[in-house]
């Protein structure tokens, strides 16, 4: 019974890491690559660690596995958020199929402060156009 559970969990974990690595190759732009990679790898590593915790009937293995999963869940989204924010600041273009970008023009240009409402004081609106790529080559 335990072996079947272990087999299912480790297969699903390995497959999700495999799909994350295929996703790095296949996704069309930077944000989608980031989005696919961080979540799937967190789930995969978490499932493999749960497998290790179930397999070895030892308290120290279980505590280590739970601690690693806990810190992974805390830190991985923050890492993804910081990388995505830095990419947006440096002007990485979005994929050509992107349908909406409500973040465009919301940053203050000098202070990099982010407003929650659109400010009407700007006189030049051409800077606020969404940074969406026209062709596939721009986001390769």
């Amino acid at each position: 019974m335990i072996e079947i559970v272990l087999a299912i969990l480790s297969t699903v974990g390995a497959l999700s890491i495999l799909f994350a690595s295929i996703g790095i190759l296949r996704m069309p732009d930077f944000y989608l690559r980031l989005s696919v990679t961080v979540k799937a790898s967190t789930l995969g590593v978490g499932l493999l660690l749960i497998c290790a915790a179930v397999m070895f009937p030892d308290v120290s293995v279980t505590t280590k596995a739970i601690a690693i999963i806990f810190f992974l869940i805390i830190t991985a989204p923050i890492g993804a958020h910081m990388i995505g924010r830095a990419a947006y600041f440096t002007g990485t273009p979005l994929w050509k199929g992107t349908i909406i970008d409500e973040l465009a023009g919301m940053y203050n240009d000098e202070t990099h402060e982010l407003e929650s409402e659109e400010s009407d004081t700007d006189d030049d609106r051409e800077d606020d156009a969404p940074n969406i790529a026209k062709t596939d080559e721009e986001t390769e």
Binding site: L15, S16, F19, I22, G23, R26, M27, P28, D29, Y31, L32, L34, S35, V36, V38, K39, A40, T42, L43, P57, V59, T62, I73, I74, A76, P77, A80, H81, G84, R85, Y88, L94, W95, G97, T98, I99, I100, D101, E102, L103, A104, M106, E113, L114, E115, S116
Partner: protein, 158 residues
């Protein structure tokens, strides 16, 4: 609330000490027994929040795992099939969460669900900007998140 939780932890530690086997399953079993004993003892008290909150937290964990697995299957299907089905976009999402702890938990939950990624939080802590992979309509996405994940999370925290 916090007194009940500490009492419950103490009761489960006593259970582990008495049975003498230090495993997580045994600790969880002791926690369940302690929860039941505390529930019986506190039936006449006025403060019942702890006993409603623990089943809600367990239900929320299962709901979140279900959402994560569902979204992972959707993303994995899109990765291995040749055609792209997604419509990405960055959505402005007005939060009801106010304190730093609530915002932290909410953004972590949204980021851990595949297909959504927090790009930034506004400086007045009122809106977050989410990069969504499967965006048919921004209003629908905002409404679904507000009535699903955020409402359940805030029901536990408040």
């Amino acid at each position: 609330m916090i007194k009940n939780f500490l009492m419950n932890l103490l009761l489960s530690a006593i259970w582990v000490a008495l049975t003498g086997s230090l495993y997580y399953t045994n600790f969880l079993f002791g926690f369940m027994i302690g929860f039941f004993i505390l529930w019986i003892m506190n039936r006449n008290e006025t403060d019942h929040r702890y006993f409603y909150r623990v089943p809600k937290i367990i239900g929320f964990i299962f709901y979140f795992l279900y959402e994560v697995v569902k979204a992972n299957i959707q993303v994995a299907f899109d990765v291995i099939t040749p055609k792209y089905f997604f419509k990405p976009g960055i959505v402005k999402y007005p939060m009801s969460a106010r304190t730093d702890f609530e915002i932290n938990l909410l953004t972590t939950m949204i980021s851990l669900t595949p297909g959504t990624l927090i790009v930034d939080i506004s400086d007045d802590k009122k809106t977050i900007y989410i990069h969504v992979m499967y965006l048919t309509d921004p209003e629908t996405f905002v409404r679904q998140t507000q009535t699903g994940l955020e409402r359940r999370l805030l029901a536990i925290l408040r």
